[in-house]
């Protein structure tokens, strides 16, 4: 068996992104949609670190740092929105979230 190459890491990053995307598409619970978004961001992070390590360049790793910052802020705001939505509608399913449809 050959050594672990960057391709393995990139395939895994792509799989993580794909699983996250599938979760965003098929789930109706908005909490789980937010968690799947986190999974997509993690896939991107793995790809960035892989390229950063292969190219001997720190810029990719620094971008991972910023992506983590943005993800943390996004989760905080998204969960606050979710709590506000639950207070108003008593439900966190995505089909109950439309304001304009009825």
């Amino acid at each position: 068996m050959e050594t672990i190459t960057p391709q393995h890491f990139l395939i895994l990053a792509f799989l993580l992104f794909g699983v996250g995307f599938l979760g965003v598409v098929i789930r109706r619970n908005l909490l789980l949609v937010l968690m799947s978004l986190e999974l997509m961001l993690n896939g991107v992070n793995v790809a960035l670190v892989t390229f950063s390590r292969t190219g001997q360049n720190l810029d990719g790793s620094l971008f991972v740092f910023f992506i983590m910052t943005v993800a943390a802020a996004e989760v905080a705001v998204g969960l606050a929105l979710l709590v506000a939505l639950y207070k108003k509608r008593r439900s966190i399913f995505s089909e109950d979230a439309g304001l304009l449809q009825n």
């Binding site: 620094l62 740092f65 989760v75």
Partner: protein, 166 residues
Amino acid sequence: MIFSRHPVSAALFMIISMVSVAGLFVLLEAFFLAILQVLVYAGAVMVLFLFIIMLLDVGPEGAKSSRLKLVSGFAGVACFSILIVLSLLLVFDSSPISQGSTLWPALDQSLLVNGENLVFSTRVKSFGFGLFTKYMLPIQVAGFLLLAAMVGVIILSKKVIREEKV
């Protein structure tokens, strides 16, 4: 994770995958990012998720369709068999990551900057150097973004009492 019916079990699977991504960062010799991943994601973010799950008291989603159940069972079996095969291969022929390969160049830790480029290294010092020289403006923006998120969350979660006052 995305097929599990109960949000709490989905969150616990999510913690497992976050810690595994941290392990991948260790393999890629980005130790600082691995620590950050465990602290930020597996610590703070998932605690926030679990807290909100408990707070809202969401039960499992309605009865799962038989097709979704079939898909989740198939995915579970496939992932488990792939895991078994890969671990057997690794047990029988383990090879460290940067051994005799040109794709994983050996790290030169002696210098921080090489011309225009910031050099990848395992030291936290180089992270700090990069963040406070080349990425000075983005780190200020990130700090401001966190402040804006904090203020926004406080305003969003406050009780609305404007209507009564008017």
